[in-house]
Subunit: 338 residues, 2 copies
DNA sequence: CTGAAAGCGCTAACAA
DNA sequence: TTGTTAGCGCTTTCAG
């Protein structure tokens, strides 16, 4: 077995023609005779020729791979986004390189650097929880590599942005609960340094205000997104805020924790206490009672972001950053439907 | 803004030295003076130089990216595997390109081709449901690109293989049920053309035999892995096989369907009927009753596969294909624990 | 329609 | 320690 892949020159030599002719034949150039084209293709197969895409790209000054940076891949929401990104990119002829930041700013910055050095033709990013500004994006700006942000976004950085409308999603969910007759709705919020939790909170608050329900700061529990925190929070509510008759949790997991407490204490759901989560994790549909939640359409966020990315790659100069919000959908289930 | 990235030559020109000196300075070559090294690095920063990794790789005849092909990314098990692969690869300095076959042999073959053309230094693959042989792997063989198979494997193809031990996992789960006192255990199997379902079935069968329980072919339902099929199958069992007192499902989803039927008919679980699934989906822990299942350690499969891949890349000639099985773990929960 | 020649950005002998 | 030269595999002017 030869150590070396067969090249265009090998084919040329075999046929006593030049590399340029072979190149033309292989890339369906108009200025080439059918005869030699046939011949070239035949011997290419014979010699088991595999075009070297990256050499071609180097020469052409183009590329066919998109870099994607996400906090972590094995969370259902992100996996869905990647699925959307890959599907669209693949259809358009792009490969995707995936990097995980693991919620570390340092790793995120390193990933940007290696992607730039590998001359990806665009970078799609959902920033880590540690990331507060976009200084480390500068490398791409100077290299003129277009960036698209999705889901977790640095607002101040000027780029296209694709995200779920957390404000509206939360707003609708809380309105739904009010319509079901709940009067005192508590909120398990995420950490407010993550934009999306701030927005879900705002939606919650505004829904109350718009329906003449007094907003009570004491009923907002920041940083309650894990199952354990949900249990803790629900106990707090039952002990210290007896009037509360419903919960809007910014995460399905904390809603799940709350549900378990309510069931344990034999408080009937949804009759005496309503619960709703957010994100629509797989289990929301399967637990008992099934959990009202909000579907964010991760796959659609991914495919939309990829479409924008590809456009920016193709028409870089003429393109101006866009902000697209994907409207989430309220999924009404047993936990909140009287 | 310049259309062109700054290169080694730009730095050289600026400093009135040659490109090779710059190259040496940048790559910490021993034969270069500290003075010029400092100077080079300084002006590199000044000119905002970004090394072109792929040009370097082309020249060196090496690469730093690994191709990964999976059926689909937004399934928890696969997402976990990818997570493991990315973590290990990244640590070792490799990027990963991800392709989804979407269970299509055609797309799988195309992906292999583009990965080969992009001169990845190795390919990791979990084959599509349509894939029955490894003819389309040939391209890589001839190009001497090492392959590692994981999870869904073509046995006949000679390569390293990393997978979960489905036989043992199923065996242990069924033994557990027998120990709990169940005597007539039915089995919802997956389609047998997928190797892993065949193995889970074998494990089930052998566990019965080893415990002097007569194996009854009629209690095996092939292709029952969806939730709907689980409901259908459970109804069949209750109507036609009254003696059956337990179910080993090869998928958590069909187990879930079965559970819902049992609950609806007020058959007490686990007292009068035991249920166990497989895969340990996220919801298994959260539903009521919680579902006994088997954890496959996707992340570990991924990281192990990546380690093997990287070794094969580094010591290609001297390496001989390995087969590694990751031992799954029985997770006993309420649905089967009397 | 085909060939000759140059070069994408980098590295690595070989010389000096 | 630095420079010269060649070339990784490909495309693309410019001639012919």
């Amino acid at each position: 077995m030869s150590k070396r892949n067969t090249t265009i020159h090998d084919i040329a030599r075999e046929l006593n023609i030049t590399a340029s002719s072979v190149s033309r034949a292989l890339s369906n150039h108009p200025r080439i005779s059918e005869a030699t084209k046939k011949l070239v293709i035949k011997t290419a197969n014979k010699l088991n020729y595999k075009p070297n895409t990256i050499a071609a790209n180097l020469r052409k000054g183009t590329g066919n791979t998109i870099g994607v940076i996400i906090p972590v891949i094995n969370r259902f929401f992100f996996a869905n986004i990647i699925h959307g990104i890959e599907s669209i990119s693949n259809k358009a002829g792009y490969n995707i390189i995936i990097c995980q930041s693991n919620e570390s700013l340092k790793k995120e910055a390193e990933s940007i650097k290696t992607l730039v050095n590998n001359r990806v033709c665009g970078i799609m990013i959902s920033v880590s929880a540690e990331t507060e500004n976009a200084e480390h994006f500068e490398a791409t700006v100077k290299s003129e590599i277009p960036i698209v942000q999705f889901d977790r976004i640095i607002e101040k950085f000027n780029s296209s942005k694709i995200a779920s409308d957390d404000y509206k999603g939360a707003y609708n969910e809380v309105v739904h609960m009010i319509e079901q007759g709940y009067k005192n709705i508590a909120h398990f919020a995420g950490p407010f340094y993550l934009n999306m939790y701030e927005k879900r909170f705002s939606g919650y608050k505004q829904a109350l205000i718009d329906n003449n329900i007094k907003f009570d700061k004491k009923l907002v529990f920041e940083g309650f997104i894990s199952r354990e925190k949900g249990i803790e929070g629900m106990n707090l509510i039952l002990n210290q805020h007896k009037k509360v008759d419903a919960l809007f949790a910014a995460s399905d997991l904390s809603a799940l924790g709350a549900l378990s407490v309510l069931k344990e204490k034999h408080i009937s759901i949804p009759k005496h206490f309503g619960v709703a989560g957010y994100v629509n994790e797989l289990f929301a549909e399967y637990i008992d009672p099934s959990l009202t939640s909000t579907e964010q359409f991760g796959e659609e966020i991914g495919s939309m972001a990829a479409k924008v990315m590809i456009e920016e790659i193709m028409y870089r100069q003429k393109t101006t950053p866009r902000t697209i919000t994907i409207t989430p959908k309220l999924i009404k289930r047993a936990s909140s439907s009287k």
